[in-house]
């Protein structure tokens, strides 16, 4: 241990590079050379990469513990790889370097263990699950790349580096959802995931810009240190110098419109960040991509869309908890959105039959719980749920995958093989899968003593008791104006009923979770097998000897009854990870069992959330109430499901559907949210794009190009008539033109220009012409200097500063015609603030002559 600390000092902890690089190398080798390496090579490479990464993570964790042990401060291990780029702060002042730097503290060390650990198990599982896929190497390349991106996300020491991982996991998710790209549906789902995530990323970009502007830092330490600057007010309206149409509106409305609206920068940052979190962690309103993402292979769903990537949002809230707590309104929004998402997703999950869809909505719902937790300021409780959820949801997904794997023996259609109604009685055929699945199931429904029980109850407890304090003394920002002290903005206060509502929603969600999860389990494992007729000694028809995802449309005639062998248990590569995860689901709760006064996790994470905790108040007590409600919810949900699906064989559910077909359809079709989005967002954007495209073709091109060319053509058509083609016409026109020029030359023009000769000396020079003669009035007395015209063209004038003088000039041409004009010559005032335009340096040469030289480098100002 000591040696380790010596090799890897805390400020240059290169083990982080090892953790990161191994999966990257794995991805590169598998992606580029995978086809030549063969399956064994790819397997070895992928497992070694992630396994090595896991080992390094464990070592890092231990080192961190060592470092943490002695101090109150949160220990950090950092590693700076290289300088990436730099931006500048408010008004382009200062420089904010962005380094490719990584850090490890209690929060992301835990997360890192989960990611690499669960990641390794899922890799192991996948080696069997994807065994026969022709894109085997591609799959592992993507998976390794995902692990790498996820690690960048959680280890990144600044928001931009986190963003790299953030988009990286989105990209991997896109590639993996669309892994079987020959099916249009999968590719579509991938695209949807990417774009919806991008909407969230937009929020993150905006948040970074706000941080740059207000805090002037993007790394975690800097943000935490400068977070108080986020409390300054930001004017939202009117934007810039945009003046609303106040004149067209009634007085009161105009006044209302013109009132400046302020929010704190913290609220804006919080909202923008939460938009990012909602995108990545599938919260309302951006949750729609996650259920569709189940189009990817099941291990992908387990790893990315349940255990790791989707919890990145929660991680981000925890990471920036010190910023979030500055905006109570945003925190309440987060909690409320989390609770609402939990309920909405759970209610959709009731009506789904596709087991992966059920699990997907369950994930959305559980993520809602996590946000509920972090929203009320219980960061470590929320994060604890991330960890336990990673265990049991990964286990559930992998278990589902195991079942689907078994179903795939005879049913090759993806949708049908995942249909719960085709399963049943699997308990008998797949004992290990069954056992592990049940382990994870009891955890998710909150069976006392399991991990889910502890983490969920902790969240419920905090939802009832914890509040965000106003970060401002007095809760408002004031400003001195001429009219006295004025309140610029008043911070939103956490409502008194807030906790009760959130708690109630949480409890309802828990009941629903227990119900639909039990429905799922009963449907899969109990009852009779409904997939096909089981025949002993059944032999596969020749053309079914491969499990090829490239032909998903290889349908059986649905009416023809299928026959096949009994489903069998999956091989060890698949059930071993299941077993490990199930054990963790059952036992993981003791990491943070507050009931038993056992909370190593809270202690471990405590220093990380210390800053944020200053702004959170938690009431004492409520524990027994929560315990009662928690256990009650679990019992109610499980009991109801047992009654409906075991005792009554699903009859009440069918009756319910018959009584209220509309509601059921609604829930089954996900409340038509997708359709509504399609209509409202996608269609309107498309309409806008159509308009833009048409405008581009006809209006812009029409005006800029076609109109211009039209005008030119029209002019050309007009001018054609002038061109007779007859030489003599042209000659006549030429003569006329010559005559005009001649007339101009001979007619008298009293024009003159002034030339500047030297300081104060000006010359007024009359324009020359054929046969011109001039006379002047230089003294301004209205009398000509001499009555006689002469050929004197120039008059000299001397002026002082700011003086001006008017001259009159008369011109007579050869035919005696005259023209007259008066000319004013003025000399500008001496302006001491402005230097001369050019300084002429005067030098006396050795021979006594004096020359003016334009100097090479002279300061401005000149000789005063």
């Amino acid at each position: 241990m000591e040696a380790l600390v010596k090799v890897f000092p805390a400020n240059d902890f290169s083990l982080l590079a090892v953790i990161l690089c191994l999966p990257l190398i794995g991805a590169f080798i598998n992606g580029v050379f995978g086809k030549r390496l063969g399956r064994e090579g790819v397997t070895l490479m992928a497992l070694a990469a992630v396994g090595g990464s896991f080992l390094a993570a464990v070592v890092s964790f231990l080192v961190l513990r060592q470092a943490q042990a002695g101090s109150e401060q949160a220990a950090r291990l950092t590693y700076v790889a290289w300088d990436w780029l730099s931006v500048s702060g408010r008004h382009d002042l200062g420089s904010i370097p962005i380094k490719v730097a990584f850090s490890l503290d209690a929060l992301n060390a835990t997360m890192c263990l989960v990611v690499t650990g669960v990641g390794f198990l899922i890799h192991l599982y996948s080696t069997k699950y994807m065994e026969k896929d022709p894109g085997y190497h591609r799959f592992f390349a993507y998976l390794n790349l995902f692990i790498f991106s996820m690690l960048v996300l959680i280890l990144g020491d600044s928001l931009p580096i986190l963003f790299v991982g953030w988009e990286g996991v989105g990209l991997c998710s896109y590639l993996l959802i669309g892994f079987w790209f020959t099916d249009e549906k999968n590719a579509q789902a991938g695209k949807k995931a990417f774009i919806v995530n991008r909407i969230g990323d937009f929020g993150l970009l905006v948040a970074m810009a706000l941080f740059v502007y207000h805090v002037g830092a993007l790394d975690w330490i800097g943000i935490e240190g400068g977070r108080s600057r986020l409390l300054e007010p930001v004017k939202l309206w009117p934007i810039g110098n945009v003046v609303p149409l106040s004149s067209a509106l009634p007085e009161s409305a105009a006044a209302w419109l013109n009132t400046p609206r302020y929010v704190t920068a913290a609220s804006l940052v919080g909202l923008a960040l939460f938009l990012g979190c909602a995108g990545k962690s599938a919260q309302i309103p951006l949750y729609v991509w996650l259920p569709d993402a189940m189009a990817g292979p099941t291990p992908v769903s387990a790893l990315i869309h349940a255990a790791t990537m989707v919890t990145a949002g929660v991680y981000l809230v925890c990471r920036l908890s010190s910023v979030f707590v500055l905006a109570p309104a945003v925190m309440f929004t987060i909690a409320l959105v989390g609770a609402l998402t939990a309920l909405l997703a759970a209610s959709i999950a009731f009506a789904q039959n596709d087991i992966k869809k059920v699990l997907a909505y369950s994930t959305v719902s559980q993520l809602g719980y996590m946000f509920l937790g972090v929203g009320v300021g219980a960061f470590s409780a929320g994060f604890f749920h991330v960890v336990t959820h990673a265990f049991f949801k990964a286990c559930l997904f992998l278990g589902a995958g195991s079942v689907i794997y078994a179903m795939h023996k005879r049913i090759h259609d993806t949708d049908t093989s995942q249909d719960m109604r085709k399963m049943g009685g699997m308990k008998k055929y797949m004992p290990v899968t069954f056992a592990t699945f049940v382990g994870a199931w009891v955890a998710i429904i909150g069976f006392p003593g399991t991990s889910g029980f502890f983490s969920k109850d902790e969240i419920l407890l905090k939802a009832l008791t914890s509040q965000i304090q106003s970060p401002l003394p007095g809760g408002k920002i004031t400003q001195m104006t001429r009219a006295g002290e004025q309140t610029v903005l008043e911070l939103w206060q956490w409502p008194s009923w807030g906790n009760q509502v959130l708690f109630a929603m949480g409890v309802v969600g828990a009941v629903m979770t227990a119900f639909y999860m039990s429905r799922l389990v009963f449907g899969i494992f109990w009852g009779d097998f409904k997939g096909w007729t089981i025949k002993r000694k059944w032999k596969a028809p020749a053309h079914h000897d491969h499990d090829d995802h490239d032909h998903p449309h290889h349908h059986h005639d649905p009416d023809e009854p299928l026959e096949g062998p009994a489903p069998v248990e999956s091989p060890w590569q698949m059930w071993l990870p299941l077993a490990v995860l199930a054990a963790l689901s059952l036992g993981g709760g003791f990491l943070n069992a507050h009931l038993l006064h056992l909370h190593p996790m809270d202690d471990w994470l405590g220093p990380v959330f210390a800053t944020a905790a200053q702004n959170v108040t938690a009431a004492e007590g409520g524990l027994s109430l929560v315990l009662a409600f928690g256990i009650g919810a679990f019992a109610l949900g499980l009991g109801a499901a047992y009654w409906v699906y075991r005792l009554q064989g699903g009859e009440p559910a069918r009756a319910f559907v018959e009584r209220m077909p509309g509601l059921h359809r609604w829930a089954q079709d996900k409340f038509y949210v997708d359709e509504a989005y399609d209509e409202a967002v996608v269609e309107s954007a498309a309409a806008l794009a159509d308009t833009a495209a048409a405008a581009d073709k006809y209006v812009v091109d029409g005006i800029v190009a076609k109109l211009t060319s039209g005008v030119v053509q029209l002019a050309g058509a007009g001018l054609r008539f002038v061109q007779t083609g007859k030489v003599h016409t042209y000659a006549a026109v030429m003569v006329v033109g010559t005559a005009a020029v001649g007339w101009f030359l001979i007619a008298p023009h009293a024009q003159a220009r002034t030339v500047h000769q030297s300081a104060g000396q000006y010359g007024v020079v009359a324009a020359p012409g054929f046969g011109y003669q001039y006379r002047w009035d230089t003294d301004g007395d209205g009398q000509w200097d001499s009555e006689e015209f002469s050929s004197q063209m120039q008059q000299d004038v001397t002026l002082g500063f700011g003086e001006n003088k008017t001259l009159r000039l008369q011109v007579k041409n050869a035919f005696g015609r005259t023209a007259e004009r008066s000319i004013t010559v003025s000399r500008p005032k001496l302006d001491p603030t402005r230097g001369p335009a050019t300084v002429i340096q005067i030098e006396q040469q050795p021979d006594g002559t004096v020359r003016g030289v334009l100097p090479g480098q002279q300061p401005t100002g000149g000789v005063q």
């Binding site: 061109q723 007779t724 083609g725 007859k726 030489v727 003599h728 000659a731 006549a732 003569v735």
Partner: protein
Amino acid sequence: MSALGYVLEHYVVLSALLFTIGAIGFLVRRNVLIQLMSIELMLNAINLLLVAYNRQHGGPMTGQLFAFFIIAVAAAEAAVGLAIILSYYRLKASVHSDEADALKH
């Protein structure tokens, strides 16, 4: 009468008359050949002017040089112009300049 031929203005007026005759001839006549001759007339008028001024200024004979080059250019112009007329005549069977309006069409 004794000043006749010894005063610059006489040459200037003569040159102006010649030039005017040439210009009017060029503008009024339709026969390309005669138009070309009118151009020669104008060039000659200019030459006369140049030489006369040169005589008045004395000194270096740049005026005469200029006239020399004008003669050279006039010769070239006559050669090419006549060639064009020949070619035009082949095409149109006419030497009337107002019938040359092919560019318009």
